[in-house]
Each structure stands twice: as structure tokens, then as C-alpha cells.
């Protein structure tokens, strides 16, 4: 007979437990720090998009990963600005001001509109509720140059693990997923249509459903019409 933990795990596929008032209960005991490598297809496409650009500017929304900075710098001769949005989320959780995230994201980025060639969004949108995700997506669309591209990863599995993931680039076709503790868990998975609506100003050029239960999507901003 399965024990309580096993049953909890079994029903976990239905999503995180909820209390009577709707708040999500997170079992921190399931938080694990892990590391594993998985293939990626969208990264190659992302690099291909930026290959022709001269000294492109990339915005990385994940935490600083030194080897990624080196990788992108050496492959693209680019400028990389690291803006750790996960840290922003954690700070808002600590301060109990999650409801202010949409407003925060609207003024979060100081770059000029249309000045960024590529954005590494990773899976940060999975940690945001709809209004905050929409505010962040809108801000990112505004920053992108025409023909600029955005790489997003979206979980297709409901998970209760309270971890962020550092996506460490091993090579053009391999990412190492390195998890680390987070103050917020992933929110409900975004459906394909929801994602497209979030980035309504961009066009989906590639979408890959990976065995790692991540959907890798590459967006491009349509070129300005002459």
C-alpha cells in the first residue's frame, strides 16, 4: 500500500495543493538541487538569428552564469547585459509585494526601446502570474529591435519544486539544467495559445517540445515596414 507521501506525489500531477483560501502550499522538503544535461534545439536557432548582427546586444534574464557569458561572447562577439529577474521575484516575495510586479516590470528595464538584438528569457515567465507575465512580455517586446529574437522556455509539466533553473550552455545543442532554491514555485503551465498571446507583438518562428518537458520557443520581432 502506498504511504501518504507516495499518494501526495501521485496526486501531485494534478497540480500543487491548495488551501481553503486558494493559497498554494509549497512543500519545501521536496526542493532539491540537481544538475543534468539535456539537448536543445532552439539555442542553435537563436544563435543563428544573431550571427549576422554586428556587436549585438543580448539581454539575459537569468542569473549570471560565467560560462554562458563566455560562450555568447565568443560565439557572437556580443554585449551581454545580465538582468536577474529571478532575484527580482524573490525580492518581491520577501517583501510581500508580489502584486506590484506588473508595475515593477513596466519600468524595470533602462535600455532604449528597440535597442536589444536578442533576449534570453529562459523559463522566467513560468514563475509569474498572468498580469506580471504580461507586463514582462510587453516590456521585452518593446526592447527588441525589429528582426530581434527572443528565446523562451516553458514547462509543460506541473511541478511543485520550489527551484529556479540556471541554464548552462554546454554547446550549441546542449544545456545543463542546474537548479537552485527559489522563494516561489512555478505557476500553472502556460498553454501554447497563452504564450502566443503574451508575445502578441512577436512572431513564433520555432517551437520544440522537448523530452525534458520544456517547450522551447523562438520569437522574432517583425521587421519594420518601409
Amino acid at each position: 500500500m502506498a504511504d501518504a507521501r507516495s499518494l501526495t506525489d501521485l496526486f501531485g500531477i494534478l497540480g500543487p495543493r491548495r488551501t481553503g483560501d486558494g493559497a498554494t502550499v509549497v512543500d519545501s522538503s521536496v526542493t532539491q538541487v540537481t544538475e543534468a544535461s539535456y539537448p536543445t534545439k532552439a539555442l542553435q536557432k537563436f544563435l543563428g538569428c544573431l550571427q549576422g548582427a554586428d556587436n549585438p546586444l543580448i539581454l539575459d534574464l537569468g542569473p549570471v552564469v560565467g560560462s554562458n557569458v563566455t560562450f555568447f561572447g565568443e560565439h557572437l562577439g556580443c554585449r551581454i547585459r545580465v538582468e536577474d529577474v529571478a532575484a527580482d521575484i524573490d525580492r518581491h516575495v520577501k517583501e510581500g509585494k508580489l502584486e506590484l510586479l506588473p508595475e515593477y516590470f513596466a519600468g524595470r528595464f533602462t535600455q532604449a526601446p528597440g535597442s536589444v538584438d536578442g533576449i534570453l528569457c529562459w523559463d522566467i515567465l513560468d514563475y509569474l502570474d498572468r498580469p506580471a507575465a504580461q507586463a514582462l512580455a510587453t516590456a521585452l517586446c518593446r526592447l527588441l529591435k525589429p528582426d530581434g529574437c527572443l528565446l523562451g522556455l516553458f514547462s509543460t509539466a506541473e511541478t511543485r519544486e520550489q527551484v529556479y533553473t540556471k541554464y548552462v550552455v554546454v554547446d550549441e545543442s546542449t544545456l545543463r539544467y542546474r537548479t537552485y532554491p527559489a522563494l516561489r514555485q512555478r505557476q500553472r503551465s502556460l498553454l501554447n495559445g497563452d504564450i502566443i498571446k503574451l508575445f502578441r507583438d512577436l512572431r513564433v518562428t520555432d517551437s520544440f517540445l522537448m523530452k525534458s518537458k520544456l517547450r522551447e520557443m523562438l520569437f522574432r520581432k517583425p521587421a519594420a515596414r518601409v
Binding site: V64, G66, V69, T70, G73, G77, C78, R79, I80
Partner: protein, 172 residues
């Protein structure tokens, strides 16, 4: 170079600027002089009790364990910010190794290496950048393609010979 006649009097009497005394320029802080020493022939160490405000330039490798505020220009040499070093300056060097804290833009013609527990808050321009796991970095990285050299915005050429901390306060 770093050794100085003990009889040299501070440019500003300490009594007039009691609050600024710990952060006075090197030339005005004889007490810290013995901490600034030449480790080897081509490597100079600025001890952790030394506070420099102004421009630091030279043609020797330099290790900083103290505080520097202003500008550091070692365009042909290696600058190491030790674990106790705290820099609030524009930095130009051949290579920069950060084990302490840097606030300000860093330009290196060869490499910037932020080690574990090192911290950089500012933009980096260098053809090679290494950021260790556990290092803190906030800013932008500009890695020129191989062949393109970093061009420090240095206007004052480094004095031939040795590192020369100048007794000039930033913004003064």
C-alpha cells in the same frame, strides 16, 4: 616609488579634516605607507589599510587589498583586486583578476577574471571574461571579437616607470 620619505608632511593638516582622515590620499596618509610594499620586482601590493582617492597609473602588476576610489590605469599590466580590496573606480588594465569588490566599469585588453566571491558592479569590456560560480556580477559584458582590442578611454598616458598614486581627490 611606494617608499617615501617619512618626513614628508601631509598636504592637509589632519586636524582640519578629521572625518576624511581615513580616506585621505596616499600622499597624505603616511601611517599607511609601510603597508604599501613592493612584493617582487614587477608586482606591487597595496595593503588593506591603505585608502587611495584619485588616479592610479603605472607599468607594474598591482595587487590591491585596500580601498581605491577614482581611476586605475595599468594598461600593460595585471591588476588583482584581493579578497579585501574594495574598488570604486573606472579600471583599465591588460588583465583584471577580481577576488574582492569592484564598483565601476572595467576595461581589459586581454582578460577579466571574476573569481569565487569576487564582485563586480559595472560594465566589463574585454575580449575574454571568466565569471566563476559564486561570483557576483551586475552589469553588461562587451566581448569584442578576437583581434579587436579593448580601447581604454585613457587620456593621460601612464608615467613610465612605476605606479604612481596621485594625491588628487576625485571630483576635486
Amino acid at each position: 616609488m611606494w617608499k617615501r620619505d617619512e618626513s614628508v608632511k601631509p598636504a592637509t593638516p589632519p586636524a582640519q579634516t578629521p572625518a576624511a582622515a581615513p580616506s585621505a590620499p596616499v600622499a597624505a596618509a603616511p601611517a599607511s605607507e609601510p603597508r604599501t610594499q613592493q612584493i617582487g620586482r614587477d608586482n606591487v601590493n597595496i595593503g588593506k589599510s591603505v585608502i587611495i582617492k584619485g588616479e592610479l597609473s603605472g607599468s607594474e602588476d598591482l595587487t590591491i587589498e585596500g580601498h581605491v576610489e577614482g581611476r586605475i590605469d595599468l594598461k600593460d599590466n595585471v591588476l588583482t583586486i584581493g579578497p579585501n580590496g574594495k574598488i570604486k573606480a573606472e579600471v583599465f588594465a591588460k588583465a583584471v583578476v577580481v577576488l574582492g569588490e569592484v564598483t565601476g566599469n572595467v576595461t581589459a585588453s586581454e582578460k577579466v577574471d571574476i573569481r569565487d566571491n569576487g564582485s563586480v558592479d559595472g560594465d566589463i569590456a574585454s575580449p575574454r571574461v571568466a565569471i566563476a560560480e559564486g561570483a557576483h556580477f551586475r552589469g553588461a559584458v562587451d566581448m569584442q571579437r578576437a583581434g579587436a582590442k579593448a580601447q581604454p578611454k585613457s587620456t593621460a598616458p601612464a608615467a613610465p616607470g612605476q605606479a604612481q598614486p596621485q594625491a588628487q581627490k576625485v571630483g576635486a
